[in-house]
Symmetry: C2
Subunit: 235 residues, 2 copies
Amino acid sequence: MAINSLMEDFSSLDTSSLVDKVEAKLVQLLKDQKLNVGDSIPKELELAERLGVSRTVIREALLRLRVMGLIESKKKKGAVITSPDIFGIISKSVNPHILDQATLKEMFELRLILEIGMADFIFQRITPADIRELKKIVSKEPDATQDYLFNIEHEIAFHGKLYEITGNETLKKFQRMLLPVFDYVHHSGLLKKQVSIKRYVSHKGLVDIIENGSPEIFRNAMRNHLENHFSRLFE
Amino acid sequence: MAINSLMEDFSSLDTSSLVDKVEAKLVQLLKDQKLNVGDSIPKELELAERLGVSRTVIREALLRLRVMGLIESKKKKGAVITSPDIFGIISKSVNPHILDQATLKEMFELRLILEIGMADFIFQRITPADIRELKKIVSKEPDATQDYLFNIEHEIAFHGKLYEITGNETLKKFQRMLLPVFDYVHHSGLLKKQVSIKRYVSHKGLVDIIENGSPEIFRNAMRNHLENHFSRLFE
DNA sequence: GTTATGCATTATGTATGACTTAATAAAAAT
DNA sequence: ATTTTTATTAAGTCATACATAATGCATAAC
């Protein structure tokens, strides 16, 4: 029993640093005081005084918030609250060369999941202008013999447009984050070799379905279109 | 011509702070030198000396890397490279109270996309043990009249298990990040009121399909299962 | 010989004060 | 009234000192 309570004391040992605490306090300040985007928070010195720590600590804590995209600090004006662009922030820190291989492979999979799952949003929000643009992109589709880079570019243009059609900016940013990863994984030795470059449902086929089909049909078509990628994962 | 070169000067105007530059240099160091996870980078003072800036600047730059999850600094041992847990990092900064409404709604949509899109991975990687567990969860399914919190808990248990089955840890972390957002959006006035709580394909129905059906069938069933959410977005 | 214990060392963490720079506001000049 | 100058303010940068905690080594204990 005595040991038990001792253990509890151990587990509840506060291992967090001063900066950690200040950071938590500041985040809570943002939450509690219902501060809106654009509002400015107290000056470094004032915070330092109020929390009874040095300006150094305050600066580090504020810096963390800044890296997380919660605030933006301007000279003279102090720090103002910003609407955090999460994926903008992290896409900066998503570096295929640094991420471990397991994570990279999982992000590769994530793309496949997204493109199959987003069918309903495409059908719900597509406009005639979108369809025209898709057709324009498809009309420029290079045949397999053409320059590799040109193929990549076309891939990105087509699939990127699909993301755009969903009208979901967060999703689009997510894709932008995934792009370099996908390319990296595709060419690294991380996956099995591409067995056959059979051509499944083409981009043109997908556009036809978008125009005349349904989300259900589109999902299966997209799944088929991505078969080359899936087979490298599953077989 | 003069104007042109002037413009170039403008565009290339270096607006970045000292810390920005040091940060970039450090990231490049990680990339170039092919440093592996676990390797340690030079000490603060050494970096300060080599780059000709104060330790303060170095510390700020290192702090950024730390917030991004690229390094971890230990006393005495200096900073060591870590495998960044991206979603772990951002889920810390995903705070429904701080994110703007548009982003929140988009993240709500993101969940729907994921759960429909992940069918293939479920079917590919599911084990008999998984099916048993799913059935166990379903057997405890509360009827609609029961305690609200209990329902939520059940929802999370079931859908969380599905994510787990995909074997994609990154996806799972992503879900954990989305969870509070989803709950928040569900109850805020952000979406249209839930028109009818018709019951579509049930959890039990989904399990049956997982056992005897195919990814194609599952996708449509899941789409139907989520109809209540979709209708709040689309109608 | 192996295991504790204590001590010195080292690198990050925190504190303080001074100075630089840039943005804003106030004052002065036109 | 508008522009220019000046002063002020708060963040950015620097230097230094000390605190704290982890590591390794030396010594002591068994």
